[in-house]
Amino acid sequence: MPDLEIRPILGTMRRNPVGAILIALQVAFTLGVVANSLFIINDRIGLINRPTGFDIDNIVTVQSTLLDDPADKLQQVRTDIEALEAIPGVIAATSVTQLPLSNSGSGTELFASADPNAPEVNGARFTMTETGLDAMGLTLAEGRWFREDEIKLPSTYGDPINVVIVTRVMADALFPDGNALGATVYDHLRRPVTLIGIVEHMQGSWISWQHLDNNIFTPQVPMQRFARYVIRTEPGSLDQVMSQVEPTLAATEPRRIVQRLRPYSEIRDRTYTEHRAMAIMLGVVSVLLIIVTAVGIVGLVSFVVRQRTRQIGTRRAIGAQRLHIVRYFLVENWLMTTGGAIVGMALAFGVNYWLANLFSLPRLDPWYLPAGLVILWLVGLLSVFAPARRAARISPAIATRGAAL
């Protein structure tokens, strides 16, 4: 075990505490901010990267508004879907009324029994055609998807339906004991509906909603002149398919407005804009603080090295190897950094605890504190290294040739 000179270094720091305290405070503050930032950044990235349950990277969406009332809307939608599916590179297309992850849509509730006291289970509602499963790239866990003959044009979205499909989370919420498949559930007006299928997973409309994964599929097409289409492509065909969507829709029915043609990932990205901005902002702040801390350490150590030139030369003269000199400054800084970091960890934990209680923010995962400590250790050691090497190059002849001790 090499002699790290910890006791004499601590003694020296006690006699000249100002620089050490400044660095320690800076480290404490930086650690507090960096640990909390990393936690929030990671939390946000986790939110953004939650599995969507559908093939988001290979889907194009588009919105169509007919200029005239269609004679047969159901047929119109079917014609559109067939035309879209005929585009090379398209796997499947479906109509939808609302888009998952768009932060807009409508919800409804289902009940496991007709009993007026049965608890309501809320979910977002997605109307799709018999191609919906393939067009979204969903995974069917149990039962079956809609058949063509089940798809209806509703007069209102409150029209009774015969069959319904839900996500697994929703099914489990309705029937905690299982056996959801084939069960009769009840809609918001307590009308019976048969639960014919369970989709493994799909995120719904509102990313901050606690029941984001509770989703209900109904076999309907959009009403009136409006329709929205989801078109799933072969991997790599997205751009090429996208260029064909407008001409294709124009060819089946020119009297319409085609809008909002975009890759699905754009919808998600826009929905998460604030989360991403927050993560980037905190990342930038953390990096800047780390740089400021590093510059502070480099500055202090450089100053101290200049101030102690004679002392370092004397140490060299009486037998210090260059390694001893470098190590001295590394240990000295490590002690300051660690002292500051311990204070910083306590502060970060305390401030987070307080904020979490006050604003019901997520509680800091304590592992971010040692992670911050390791980061600041590295910042400290890297910052000290250059001035410490300069110190080690001071000539031992300084001891007899003058310079301030």
């Binding site: 090499p2 002699d3 000179e5 006791r7 004499p8 003694g11 020296t12 006699r15 000249n16 004679r310 002392q311 004397t314 140490r315 060299r316 003269a317 009486i318 037998g319 210090a320 190897q321 260059r322 390694l323 001893h324 000539s395 031992p396 002849a397 001891a399 007899t400 040739r401 001790l405």
Partner: protein
């Protein structure tokens, strides 16, 4: 045993080259007390720095204890400075933030001695210089003469073969100076080879042998040739 042959030291700056030492030959036998005198700027410190491996000569060969030291790397030179040589400087060069004990401890830590051994050596060295009662004082709490005695203790604690002193009394009044010289005499009497550089002519030849420098050269060639067998003296 210290042996220099044809040592030259040239300091080059952009404008001029200063020949601080030239054609310098010197042999010092074990146990000698050599005083190196000469006017200011004559090369005394340059000589001592080369002798103490603080600087490399521009030319010539230098053997310490029979070992050619010119080719050694920095680490090996640091070891020799740490183990074989004790330094005493004109301005003491104690580390201001360390107390007496910790100052003496500095070179012992570099040597990697265990704590108990270091404590014993520190106690012994303080005993020799008569400062056992000041072990927890800071340098700033000591007089110049006491500081120089701490510096001597720091040099002695390493039990060096050679003690190199550059104007050790230069910053002391005459009473303190004579205490320090008396201490060096005692140390020399115990067998440590001492080379002391001074421009104080009253100390010339103090230890029995004097080497005089003038303008980077030996002023009396005899001294270089003569391996005076004396060395212990008053």
């Amino acid at each position: 045993m210290l042996e220099m042959k044809n040592i030259a030291k040239i300091y080059r700056t952009e404008a001029i080259a200063t020949h601080a030492l030239r054609d310098f030959d010197l042999s010092v036998a074990d146990g000698e007390f050599v005083t190196v005198t000469g006017p200011s700027g004559s090369g005394k410190t340059t000589f001592l720095n080369i002798a103490g491996l603080l600087e490399d000569p521009t030319d010539g060969t230098y053997k310490l204890d029979g070992e050619e030291v010119g080719q050694l790397n920095d680490r090996a030179k640091s070891r020799i400075r740490n183990e074989k040589i004790g330094f005493i400087f004109q301005s003491f060069n104690l580390i201001p933030d360390l107390d007496v004990t910790d100052n003496i401890d500095v070179p012992l830590r570099y040597r990697g001695l265990p704590g108990a051994e270091r404590s014993k050596r520190i106690r012994d060295a303080l005993e020799i210089v008569g400062l056992a009662s000041r072990q927890h004082h800071l340098p700033s709490q000591l007089s110049g003469g006491q500081q120089q005695r701490v510096a001597i203790a720091r040099a002695l604690a390493g039990r060096p073969r050679f003690l190199l002193a550059d104007e050790p009394t230069g910053n002391l009044d005459s009473e303190m100076a004579s205490q320090v010289i008396a201490l060096l005499d005692d140390i020399n009497a115990q067998g440590t080879t001492i080379i002391m550089v001074t421009h104080d002519m009253s100390l010339a030849g103090h230890g029995g042998r004097e080497v005089r420098l003038l303008d980077g050269r030996l002023a009396s060639p005899d001294d270089a040739e003569t391996l005076a067998a004396t060395g212990t003296g008053v």
